[in-house]
């Protein structure tokens, strides 16, 4: 039979150890990382007018892996920083990967001015005038990027400016070489 005082001393770690574990795991996680419920699911369909006045829809991606990049001309410096990374990605994977830009709460004039200044792109940019595509993708703010495989499944999402290492991780998730 255990003495009451011994039971008390044994009960203490039973309370403190789970508390310590919760504190440790909580401190170890990055509060800025917000998991997307879209990862592992089919990409939300979209269709709309592009910056050059054409039409583009997710159906046009069928069979190709894609990178859907949400951006805006007011998103400085993050969108400026990632722009060369996107240009490099498009140049290295032309034909194997489809890039799509989507404006977030921006005007066509603002976006065209951005591209004039930082470099024209070869991929379509949807105007997303009513913000519906941003809502469908759960976009928090530009820049934000989704990697979608050839079957149309979202394999990863990155919040913040793209870097070469983020792109390498995204391409690896798509089964493509960096």
């Amino acid at each position: 039979m255990l003495r009451p005082s011994l039971i008390r001393w044994l009960a203490l770690p039973l309370v403190l150890v789970p508390l310590g574990w919760l504190l440790f795991t909580g401190l170890g996680s990055d509060p800025r990382v917000i998991p997307s419920p879209l990862v592992g699911k089919p990409m939300p369909a979209f269709a709309g007018t592009t910056l050059d006045g054409g039409e583009f829809s997710s159906a046009d991606l069928a069979g190709n892996p894609a990178v859907v990049n949400f951006w805006a001309s007011y998103c400085i410096p993050s969108c400026v920083d990632e722009h060369p990374v996107l240009l490099d990605l498009a140049a290295r994977h032309a034909g194997a990967l489809q890039l799509v830009g989507v404006l977030v709460s921006d005007t066509p004039d603002g976006a065209l001015g951005f591209l004039d200044r930082y470099g024209q792109v070869s991929w379509p940019t949807l105007l997303n005038a009513d913000g519906g595509i941003s809502i469908d993708y759960g976009v928090i703010g530009p820049p934000e990027t989704f990697f979608v495989d050839a079957q149309g499944i979202v394999v990863s999402r990155h919040v913040g400016p793209l870097t070469s290492s983020v792109v390498a991780d995204g391409l690896a998730a798509l089964g493509l070489a960096p």
Partner: protein
């Protein structure tokens, strides 16, 4: 005092649970569609703001969400279905309040439980450290008799 700690803690827990049940089951008048839209917007976090709801924010993203809420209510969707629609896209992060109202009661219940456990633990230590009660005259005599028998 120590004897009362557990009953007081249990009574406090029961009172909190009763309040929670009353709050959940309390009937209220059916809100209009505008009120429903405002309430849903107030429950959702503005995606590109700091600590503001969709109802409070003037950003384009918040305006787009408000527009979708109104459209979905007009299409016959319930507030729960509309919240689920946004959670499916943004995750539970988009909700300013936890999905279950009972979640609000977890912190006070945890604090009460912690206080109860601490009081029990400290009370036990004090009881163990308390000096022994003085021996009664009868017991003193009995001990003396037993010692004398041992010495004999």
């Amino acid at each position: 005092m120590r004897r009362l700690a557990l009953p007081i803690a249990i009574a406090a827990l029961l009172a909190l649970a009763g309040l929670a049940v009353v709050e959940v089951l309390r009937p209220s008048a059916a809100p209009t569609r505008t009120e429903q839209a405002r309430q849903i917007a107030a429950d959702l976090r503005c995606p590109d703001c700091q600590a503001l709801s969709v109802a409070e924010s003037e950003t384009a993203a918040a305006a787009a969400i408000r527009r979708q809420i109104v459209e979905q209510l007009a299409a016959g969707q319930s507030p729960a279905q509309i919240r689920a629609y946004f959670v499916a896209r943004y995750g539970e992060w988009i909700l300013l309040a936890p999905p279950s109202p009972f979640a609000w009661w977890i912190p006070p219940v945890a604090v009460l439980l912690g206080i109860s456990v601490f009081a029990w633990w400290v009370g036990g230590r004090r009881a163990a450290a308390a000096p022994d009660a003085p021996l009664s005259a009868g017991l003193r005599e009995q001990i003396r008799d037993e010692v004398e028998q041992l010495d004999a």
